[in-house]
Structures are given as structure tokens and as C-alpha cells.
């Protein structure tokens, strides 16, 4: 940074006299003269938690704090350089992108409901995303090993391994993944900002959320926080407050076990277009196999009987 003539040293004066740079949030770095922050630091300052490989992280999306601003959706697209391929007005409340897919990894739903005569209408917002299931259908179905569980507990499609076989798509009980048929014909979904986590930054959507509706952190701590929030809402007179994706609870049934990206909802999951009891495709395999085996045994038996009978 150049010295400026005649104006004194006006370039650097970040701190009031007598104070030194604090290690408290938000850090203040002059990138021109100092080193950038060490990895892991930023997430600690912005979310309250450092990012450490080996620990499981998740999102707690509290819909009661969501103001439907779509900052998450835009931040996601901007950080991940996803195309804006839906520039078309759709007359569906304020929702123009409609669903999660290969080019929309965060998607804010707008649920508009007319209430009884004389009552105010209802407008619910929910920022939806890949659930990063504890047992992920997509991961189990992927024949190439492109889909992996990362060192942060998230589910990631490795783009250089994916061959676009489509198996993951019906295997996701939430309809999160689609194929980008316009460009690389591969499957795409939320990466949990794997690149940001590696640099110690929380995912873009959580960082951009102005009301902390999207909270990032270690999954065990988020679950405790969510439980406390639900209880507080119950105490405030909102018995309808409920979690979606808590271990074994709604949204985490039939082998899904738990959602690392889980939600606080103010109504039945169906209202938000979320399956109440999602099912892992693998769960259908065992009964399917048994039925087939049984049918086979029966068939063999019947054939044998018929053959034996005919010999008589």
C-alpha cells in the first residue's frame, strides 16, 4: 500500500487508540500487510464452531426464523457458480426455481395457505437442501463409488468419478439429485461446500443467512440446540413445532436413521412437501429378495410336483 502524500498516514488506523486487534469475532485482517486467517478460524468466528476433519457436521434449518429472503439460494449459486437457468416467472407464490436439482442446491419453498374466514393467511418458508442422510440411499446405490461420505460426515458426489448412470436419482427418497442434461450429463447436488470446509469456512448458505435460520455446526450440538428450541416454542404456545430428521423420528425412518441436515417445522411434513416416512431403496431389497426367493421355491416346488406327477 503506497504512502499518501500530504494526508498523513491515513491508510491504516483500524483500532481506537489503546486497543489492540482482538481475537474475538469478527477478526480484522489487513490483507495487504498481514497473513490471511489460518484454516478453521473463520467458521469458528461466524458459526461458533471450528471445522475439524473427522467430526460430523450438519445444518439445522429453523423455519420459524426464515424470512424467505433467498440469500442462501443466491449465495449457494454464486459460490458454486451454478447457472441461473430458470429465468421465467411461474405464478407459484414467490418461488421461481420450484425444486432442488442439479442447478439449485438450496431452494426456498413458499407455502401459501388461505385460512378460515376472518383469519389471517399463512405463508410458510422453508429453505430445503440435500439432507446428507446418515444412511444415504444415493451413496448405497452409486455403482461407481462416485458418491462418498466425507471426513465432515457429509455426502458428496465426486464429479470426476460420476458416469451419469442415474442410479442415485430414484434412490434418494427426497428427490434431491437430478442430472445436468444440458452440460456434463452427470448427477449434481449440494456438496456441503466441501471446498469451503477444507479452508475452515462454514458453508455459504449458512454464512449468508441474516436471521440464523440456517445454522451450521457439529451435528450433536445442533441436535441439542434444536431440541431446546422446540421446547421453547412449545412453552411459548406453539405445540405444532416439530423436528424433521431427528434420529429415528419423522423424516428419518425406514433405514434413513437420521438426517444430518434437519429441520424445525411448524406443521406436518407433508405441508412442506417432505415425506413423513422416507424409505431407503435398500430396505426394499431384502423383502423383495425374500419374496422372489419364496416365489422361486414355490415355482421350483410346483414344477417339480408337476414333473413328478406327469411321470406317473
Amino acid at each position: 500500500m503506497s504512502e499518501t502524500e500530504g494526508a498523513g498516514e491515513v491508510r491504516h488506523g483500524p483500532f481506537p487508540s489503546g486497543q489492540t486487534p482482538s481475537r474475538e469475532w469478527p477478526f480484522y485482517y489487513d490483507y495487504a500487510t498481514e497473513c490471511p486467517p489460518p484454516p478453521g478460524i473463520e467458521a469458528e468466528k461466524t458459526s461458533g464452531y471450528p471445522v475439524r476433519p473427522g467430526e460430523d457436521y450438519g445444518f439445522f434449518t429453523d423455519t420459524t426464523l426464515c424470512i424467505g429472503c433467498k440469500a442462501c439460494e443466491v449465495a449457494c449459486k454464486e459460490w458454486n457458480q451454478l447457472p441461473a437457468d430458470h429465468i421465467e416467472w411461474r405464478a407459484t407464490s414467490y418461488d421461481q426455481t420450484r425444486s432442488l436439482g442439479h442447478s439449485t442446491w438450496r431452494h426456498v419453498k413458499f407455502i401459501e395457505q388461505r385460512q378460515a374466514e376472518g383469519e389471517r393467511p399463512r405463508w410458510l418458508f422453508q429453505s430445503d437442501i440435500c439432507k446428507h442422510c446418515a444412511h444415504a440411499g444415493c451413496l448405497e446405490a452409486c455403482p461407481t463409488g462416485a458418491i462418498v461420505r466425507t471426513e465432515y460426515g457429509s455426502v458428496l458426489i465426486q464429479q470426476d468419478v460420476c458416469n451419469g448412470c442415474l442410479y442415485c436419482i430414484p434412490s434418494c427418497p427426497f428427490g434431491v439429485i437430478t442430472l445436468d442434461r444440458e452440460s456434463d450429463a452427470k448427477a449434481h447436488k449440494c456438496t456441503f461446500c466441501y471446498d469451503r470446509l477444507q479452508d475452515g469456512m462454514e458453508p455459504a448458505c449458512a454464512k449468508s443467512c441474516p436471521t440464523d435460520s440456517i445454522q451450521f455446526g457439529p451435528i450433536t450440538q445442533l441436535r441439542a440446540r434444536a431440541q431446546a428450541r422446540v421446547e421453547a416454542l412449545h412453552d411459548q404456545g406453539f405445540p405444532e413445532a416439530q423436528l424433521y430428521g431427528d434420529p429415528g423420528g419423522q423424516g428419518a425412518t425406514n433405514g434413513v436413521e437420521a438426517l444430518n441436515s434437519f429441520f424445525l417445522l411448524m406443521d406436518h411434513p407433508n405441508v412442506y412437501g417432505l415425506p413423513e416416512a422416507p424409505k431407503l431403496p435398500a430396505r426394499q431389497v431384502a423383502p423383495g429378495l425374500l419374496t422372489s426367493l419364496a416365489a422361486g421355491v414355490l415355482l421350483i416346488g410346483a414344477t417339480a410336483a408337476a414333473l413328478l406327477g406327469s411321470r406317473r
Binding site: V10, I67, Y94, W123, P210, T211
Partner: protein, 875 residues
């Protein structure tokens, strides 16, 4: 701005955004805060998490309403009736905070017996001159004692006569009756004035059911007082009316009566429309103001000489006694060594205003050929201006126009892309306007500061170099100034004013880099001010002098750079979670880093906090100073028991008792009743919008008696209750776009989020008109027709007033004819009308009609023909 200014003394928000979390109740009205101030709304959500009640009063059920505990649907333009109802409820039931109101407001002050109220004159105040459409304010004064308005003195018919008399303010106190029984004391006048604002009248005027009115009134009162506070937030949904200033006044009166000003979790938060709108009012882009609220000299006032200017603008009592120090220091900052006592510090270099030169009159002057050239920087009036079609036509009268912006927007492209060109009303070959389109650097590409909605100055550094030829405004203005100076230096009359105005300017900012960009922090240093002899920065505006020994570009910003190289606007140190939460080391708030204004009122008259929970600033009798969690907005060593000694003709702050928290006001008290400063009345009275579907239910006077309706052939105005235009239309902004769209409609990710113009209508109106969700509809006024797609929604509810249904039509106004997200320009529908006081337009309440289907003869519709829509429908 004068709404807050005449009530409390300063035109800025009285509180800080983050203080909202200390409120027990927050009312948002005239704003969709969650949508347009999502980051500030964080603190509303924090308050809600802590159990506060959030109330949203708005014609639309918006994203803000969905997060609020209560939504109160209101007919656009009827806010004064509603607020008047709440004031009446508080007064009639004696629910005001008496211990606060008596010492801190002018409730006890006695008004001249010549004053006549709207009660006496069917909606007019005394002193009204119907020909001039103005008031003489003499009869509005206190008994035997005229007072000047704080700081901002609009031109009033009797200004010259009553201002010199204000010198007597130093001789005796203003007559008061602290029992509040005197029939002419302000409280009794208020009681009579608002008596007709009953809950029934509110229901009839606003469409708000009585039950809901009572519910809100109870919540407000329960959450005000010693232990609890209520905050109000508003934005341009209050401002953009022909009586916007009086709507804000009504809220100020209510907050004063409930004792919610100057206290944690209280106040009125003016939510500004852009990141630094407060900054552009402080260091103004306004025609009638010099930096930080000094008046622009006017040919209509006695402003020929500096001494006369000071006499008419200075107040002998209160903080504005310092006026001469601020104006002389400003002149020293601008004209340097050329500014000397013998030449009145170059006071003559300042141009005199000759009338209303605000945006709409300026546009008309352009249209009529009075203005030939235009610099347009960071504005897109072909979309954002009122009666935008008229503006686009006006631009064709210019010889030249310089546009500096990030993208080629609708205004820059008016000559080939506008609907007028497509309709054949303008021919690019015939348009003589030469357009110079210059690329501008965006915020991340330049150094600078934002002064946000709560007066907080925050510095930002350039992150990347602007691409190509794009440059920041400082670069442009500096080098333009240098080139002009070079040209004017060759003028054959080097001593003429036109030459001296330019050549005497201090224009020596240090430059840096290959692009020779001025160092913007050196401008901030100049605004902060310095001692002329040694160039050392001043520490505070208390250092400024009226003898030319100090220079200061904006006295309210004194202290932002108190040492060379120390820029407090760079501070980024928040308070820890435990508190105190005033965050005095985050940025720098004017004045003197005070976070909550008028915070003397956070303590009782004896200087003790009203309650433990609501402590902020208090008197420390041992040290003999005011102290606390915020910087006191009060003389630090002035004891609560100080009383002026009238035998010694006290001036300035000496004339205020130790209990008067509103230091900028001549009598130190919050003005429930404003004897000076406003052109339309000392108290708010409900008037209808210029275009309204109903007759004024409260008075014979239909519209604001002092608003300006421009009668021109291009500006037909709908009659009251015109069956051809039965619906009320209100415009608004979406989270996904920013104002005229230049910063958002060209960005693919934002364009995708709200890609096209639309109009929100109720299911009832849609059924009546045969419109399905997603259909095309044509919305029209006598000025224009626009086609948009219909969003049919239960969130828009028909209002029921007095047995009659009023439909509201709501449309976002961001869209235009180029960019990625497009649509017809909603502002084409608006009329050319302005408010008194601040000349703002009326975009939030006017009338329209609509029909299903696209614009008939889409590209050939003449603009400015009343009844056009009906004809097209029939044909």
C-alpha cells in the same frame, strides 16, 4: 426527515438496529422490513425469540407479516387516522407516561390564543392562505413566544417576521401548566384534536376492525412504561405520501406520550431505502441543504449576507446556538485560505436556491427546456421516477446527459429502447439528446463509507480494481473538477463569482496508484474537520469555532477521524455476548458516537434509570457527570437539578434545564405539538391521498391543503371516488431486487429469483374480474397502461370500510424494458404530486383500474389519455 426533526431535533433514526432486540414490542408500519432490511430484521427476530410481540401494519400480508405475531391490514394512505386513533386511546384513558411526558415534552407548554385547530376549521389550521396553499405559522406559536424549528427551517410566509422575536427566548421561560389543566396547554389541545379519532372512525377510515384496534392499543400500552419499551420501524411506506411527514409526526407523538424515546428497546427506526441514504442526507444530495443539516442559502429568505443568514437560521437557545461555528467552519473547509472574515468567508460563493428544485420540479424543468444538461449518477429514473413515461419524454428535451452506472440501464437507453420509442411516440432520429455512458466502479471496487440507517458510518476498502474504464465517483468528481478549474482559469474575468466559486475551492486531495485516484480517507479527514493553523484533526464539534480557525466539512461527523490515520469508521469490535450491547467500538455513529439519541430520557428527571432493566445513561452524582453504556447525548457535566437563571439571559444550552433531553430543540423538549418547522400543520390531521376512492371521513378538507398537485396536460388526476379508477394501488420492493434494478436485474442469480413484473391481487377481485393466477392483466391509470402477470393470493385482502369494499392492488416497481428481469414500469402509473415540507411523491397510495388480458394495441397506446383503458376494453 422533518417528521423526526421537528419532533426530536434531528432527522435521523433515534435508535440503533441492534437495540431492537431490547424491545418488548416492535411495530413495523410503512415498511416490509423483513423483505427490504433482512439483515436488520435479524434483531427483530432476536426480540421475538426473547418473547417480544411483533406487529406488522400493512395493506399486504408480506414476508414481514408472516413472521409477525399480529398483522393489521390497513387501507393505503390512512395511517394518520390509525395512529391518531392510538393517540386518542392513550389520551382518553390517561395511559400516557406522566412522569416522562411532563418534564420531557411540551405537553405543559401553553399555545397562543390565536391558534385555531382542525376542529374549529373543518380540517384546516389557522393561518392558511388558500391562494399560496401555505400556512402563516404565527398563530401556531407558544403564548407570547415564537420558536424557531430545530435546524431545518423551511421557507414560511412569516419566517422573516417571527424569527427575530425568538431572541426573547433568552429572557423568560415558555409559559407552562404542569397540572396539564390549562385549556390551551399542548396536552389539552391534543386531546381535543384527536378526540374524533375513535375506534369506529379508524374502522371506517382504515378498514381495521375495532377488535383488532383495541388488541394493538392494549399491547402498546402494556409494553411501554418504566420496565418495558416499544419500538417503531418505518420506511418509505410512510414517507411517500403527500402527508408522509405528518404520518411520522403521529408516530413521534405516540412514542413521546408512551415514554419510548431515548430509551433501550424504544425509539423510532427510520429504515432508509439504500445502504447509505442516511449518508446522502447527511452529506446531502439534496438541493436545499448543506452538509449535516445547515440550510442552503435561499433567495426567498433574508440570506444576502452571512450575518443575516446566521440570524435567520440560528436558534438563540439549544444546541443550534452553535450554528455560526458550523457554517464558518464549512466555508473554511470548502474555500480554505480564500475564506476570510472580510469576505464573509466566501459566503457569496454558495448558490442561492430560488424555489423547489427537487426531483419532480427538476424533471418538469427539463421537459420544458429550462435545463439542458444532466449528470445522472447511480439513478435510474426511467424506472424509479414517478410518472416515469413523462420522465422519459422529458429526457428527450436535454442537449446532453452523462450517465455513470454499472450497467446500461433504462434511462441511458431511453432514446432507443423505451416504450415511447416502440410505440412510435418518440423517434430516435429526432431525439437530440447526446448520451455519454460512463462505466462506474461498484462498491467492492472503491474505498468509501456507508452511513447506514442508524447513523452508523462504516468504512469499506476496495477489494479489487474496477475493470476497464470503470471508475469510482471520487475519481470522476475530482478529475472533472480539475478540468473545469483549468478551463475557468482562462476566463477573461478571473475575479467573477463563477470563476472564484471553482478556483477558490480546496481541491488538493492526495492521489494514489496508476489511475490517480483521490485518497478517499482524506475526504473523510476533511469532513471530520481540522485546526487551520496546524492541520491537526478536531476531536469533536465542540472544538469548532466561528472565527475561521477551524475547518470542517460536516460538523456532525466530527470525531470520526480524531487523530491522523485513525479512522473510527473502520472499527469492527463488537461487545461480548454479555453486553452491554451498544457496540460503541463497531463503526462510528454521529453525533459523537452516540448510539441511542436523546438518551438523557433513559433516566428519570433526577438522573436515575427508570428501571434496572431499562438502564442506559445516568447521572453519577459523585463524579458529577453523565455516564452509562452509551455516550450521553447531553452536556456531560450538566446536573439534573440545573435550572436556567433567567435574570442573566441564558443562551444556548444554558437556557435548558438539566431535565431537557432534546438538546437540538429551542426549548429542549420533545415536540408533541410543533409550533414551527412544518408547512402543513403543527399536528397531524388525516387527509386522503390526492387520488382516493373515498371522501375524507374526518374533515371537509379532502387532501393535504399544502401539497402540490401539478396540473399539466401530461398529468391527469383521478377524481375522488372515480368509478373509472376504483382500486387503490400501492407499490413495493422485493428482497430479490434493489430499487430501479440496476444492481440486481442484470445479475443472473438475482434475476432468476424474481424474473418478471407482476401484480398482486386478492382472490375476490380476481373472481370479480375473471382473472386466474398467472394470467396477464392490464393495470391502468389516466397516465399510463401497464401489463403484468397476476399473482392471485389470499395475502391481499379486500378492506371493508363503512359497508363498502375497497380492493388493493399491489405491485413491485423494480422492472423495466432492458436487463435480464423485465416488465412494464409500474411507476408509469403514478402522478406528479408532491408533499409539502420535502416535495416527495405519492407512490404508496393512488387509484387505478385493471382488466384481464394484455395491453390492447400494446405498442400504440397513447399515454395521458383518461379513460383509455375503458375504451380499449370495449373495442
Amino acid at each position: 426527515m422533518p417528521g423526526l426533526g421537528t419532533s426530536f431535533g434531528r432527522g435521523g433514526a433515534t435508535t440503533a438496529q441492534w437495540d431492537l432486540q431490547n424491545a418488548q414490542c416492535i411495530v413495523i408500519e410503512g415498511s416490509s422490513m423483513a423483505e427490504n432490511h433482512p439483515v436488520a430484521y435479524r434483531f427483530v427476530m432476536k426480540a421475538k425469540e426473547r418473547g417480544a410481540t411483533i406487529i406488522h401494519v400493512d395493506p399486504r400480508f408480506s414476508r414481514t407479516s408472516s413472521l409477525a405475531d399480529l398483522h393489521v391490514p390497513i387501507r393505503p394512505g390512512s395511517d394518520i387516522a390509525w395512529l391518531g386513533g392510538l393517540i386518542n386511546y392513550v389520551l382518553q384513558n390517561d395511559l400516557y407516561f406522566r412522569e416522562y411526558v411532563i418534564p420531557y415534552t411540551n405537553a405543559a407548554s401553553i399555545v397562543s390564543e390565536d391558534f385555531e385547530d382542525t376542529e374549529d376549521l373543518d380540517g384546516l389550521f389557522s393561518g392558511y392562505d388558500p391562494e399560496e396553499r401555505r400556512h402563516q405559522v404565527d398563530t401556531w406559536q407558544y403564548e407570547g413566544q415564537p420558536v424557531p424549528a430545530p435546524g431545518y427551517n423551511p421557507v414560511q410566509l412569516s419566517t422573516q417576521e417571527h424569527i427575530p422575536q425568538t431572541e426573547s427566548l433568552t429572557e423568560k421561560p415558555i409559559p407552562r401548566d404542569e397540572t396539564l389543566q390549562h385549556p390551551r396547554c399542548v396536552l389539552q389541545i391534543l386531546k381535543r384534536h384527536f378526540a374524533r379519532y375513535t375506534p369506529e372512525m379508524v374502522a371506517k377510515t382504515c378498514g381495521i376492525p375495532e377488535e383488532l384496534f383495541h388488541q394493538v392499543a392494549r399491547v402498546l400500552v402494556e409494553n411501554s412504561g418504566r420496565e418495558r419499551t416499544t419500538a417503531w420501524c418505518y420506511a418509505v411506506g410512510w414517507t411517500q405520501h403527500t402527508k408522509g411527514v405528518q404520518i411520522i409526526r403521529a408516530a413521534a407523538i405516540l412514542q413521546l406520550l408512551l415514554g419510548n424515546i431515548g430509551r433501550p428497546g424504544g425509539g423510532i427506526l427510520a429504515l432508509r431505502g439504500h445502504a447509505t441514504i442516511q449518508g446522502s442526507t447527511d452529506i446531502p444530495t439534496l438541493y436545499d441543504m448543506l452538509p449535516t443539516y445547515l440550510g442552503q442559502p435561499s433567495a426567498q429568505k433574508k440570506h444576502e449576507h452571512l450575518e443575516e443568514y446566521i440570524q435567520t437560521e440560528q436558534s438563540p437557545t439549544g444546541w443550534w446556538v452553535n450554528y455560526p461555528k458550523y457554517i464558518v467552519s464549512l466555508l473554511k473547509a470548502w474555500y480554505g485560505d480564500a475564506a476570510r472574515e472580510e469576505n464573509e468567508y466566501c459566503f457569496d460563493h454558495l448558490p442561492r436556491i430560488t424555489g423547489d428544485h427537487s426531483q419532480l420540479p427538476m424533471t418538469m424543468a427539463i421537459h420544458d427546456g429550462e435545463i439542458q444538461g444532466l449528470f445522472l449518477m447511480g439513478q435510474n429514473p426511467a424506472v424509479g421516477g414517478q410518472h416515469a413515461g413523462f420522465i422519459r419524454k422529458a429526457l428527450a428535451s436535454l442537449d446532453w446527459m452523462v450517465v455513470r452506472d454499472g450497467f446500461e440501464h433504462e434511462t441511458a437507453a431511453f432514446w432507443y429502447a423505451s416504450p415511447e420509442v416502440r410505440r412510435g411516440e418518440m423517434d430516435p432520429k429526432q431525439i437530440k439528446t447526446e448520451v455519454f455512458l460512463l462505466p462506474a466502479a461498484l462498491a467492492g471496487e472503491k474505498d468509501g463509507s456507508f452511513t447506514n440507517t442508524h447513523r452508523l458510518v462504516q468504512w469499506h476498502d476496495k477489494a479489487v480494481e474496477a475493470p476497464g474504464d470503470a471508475r469510482g465517483e471520487p475519481w470522476f468528481m475530482y478529475h472533472l473538477g480539475m478540468r473545469l478549474r483549468k478551463l475557468y482559469a482562462q476566463d477573461p474575468e478571473p475575479e467573477s463569482i463563477r470563476v472564484r466559486q471553482l478556483l477558490d475551492l480546496t481541491w488538493s486531495y492526495p492521489l494514489e496508484g496508476e489511475r490517480q485516484e483521490p485518497v478517499v480517507e482524506s475526504v473523510l479527514q476533511e469532513i471530520n474537520g481540522y485546526h487551520v493553523t496546524d492541520r491537526k484533526p478536531v476531536q469533536s464539534f465542540e472544538d469548532l469555532q466561528d472565527d475561521g480557525s477551524t475547518a470542517c466539512g460536516g460538523w456532525l461527523y466530527c470525531g470520526v477521524m480524531p487523530e491522523p490515520g485513525v479512522n473510527l469508521a473502520r472499527n469492527r469490535l463488537p461487545d461480548p455476548v454479555e453486553g452491554p450491547g451498544t457496540h460503541r467500538n463497531w463503526g462510528y455513529a454521529w453525533p459523537s458516537n452516540r448510539r441511542i439519541l436523546y438518551n438523557r430520557a433513559s433516566a428519570d428527571p433526577d438522573g436515575k434509570p427508570w428501571s434496572e432493566q431499562k438502564r442506559l445513561v445516568w447521572w453519577d452524582p459523585e463524579q458529577g457527570v453523565w455516564t452509562g453504556n452509551d455516550n450521553p447525548d447531553f452536556p456531560r457535566e450538566k446536573a439534573p437539578d440545573y435550572r436556567p437563571d433567567w435574570s442573566r439571559n441564558p443562551r444556548g444550552m444554558d437556557a435548558h434545564p438539566g431535565t431537557a433531553p432534546f438538546i437540538m430543540i429551542a426549548d429542549g423538549l420533545g415536540w408533541l405539538y410543533a409550533p414551527s418547522g412544518l408547512q402543513d400543520g403543527p399536528l397531524p390531521a388525516h387527509y386522503e391521498a390526492v387520488e382516493s376512492p373515498v371522501r375524507n371521513p374526518l374533515y371537509g378538507q379532502q387532501i393535504s391543503p399544502t401539497c402540490q398537485v401539478y396540473h399539466r396536460p401530461e398529468n391527469p388526476i383521478h377524481a375522488v371516488d372515480d368509478p373509472a379508477y376504483p382500486y387503490v394501488v400501492t407499490s413495493y420492493r422485493l428482497t430479490e431486487h434493489h430499487t430501479g434494478g440496476t444492481m440486481s436485474r442484470w445479475i443472473p442469480w438475482l434475476a432468476e429469483m424474481q424474473p418478471e413484473a407482476f401484480v398482486e391481487i386478492s382472490e375476490e377481485l380476481a373472481a370479480e374480474k375473471g382473472i386466474e393466477n398467472g394470467d396477464w392483466v392490464t393495470v391502468y391509470t389516466a397516465r399510463a397502461e401497464t401489463e403484468m402477470r397476476a399473482l392471485v393470493t389470499p395475502r391481499i385482502q379486500p378492506l371493508h370500510l363503512d359497508g363498502r369494499t375497497v380492493h388493493v392492488v399491489a405491485m413491485p416497481w423494480h422492472y423495466g424494458y432492458i436487463g435480464l428481469a423485465q416488465g412494464d414500469v409500474a411507476n408509469d402509473l403514478c402522478s406528479l404530486v408532491t408533499s409539502p415540507n420535502i416535495s416527495i411523491h405519492e407512490a404508496k397510495a393512488f387509484t387505478c383500474n385493471l382488466r384481464p388480458g394484455r395491453r390492447a394495441n400494446a405498442e400504440n397506446t397513447p399515454v395521458g389519455h383518461a379513460g383509455n383503458g375503458e375504451r380499449n376494453q370495449r373495442s
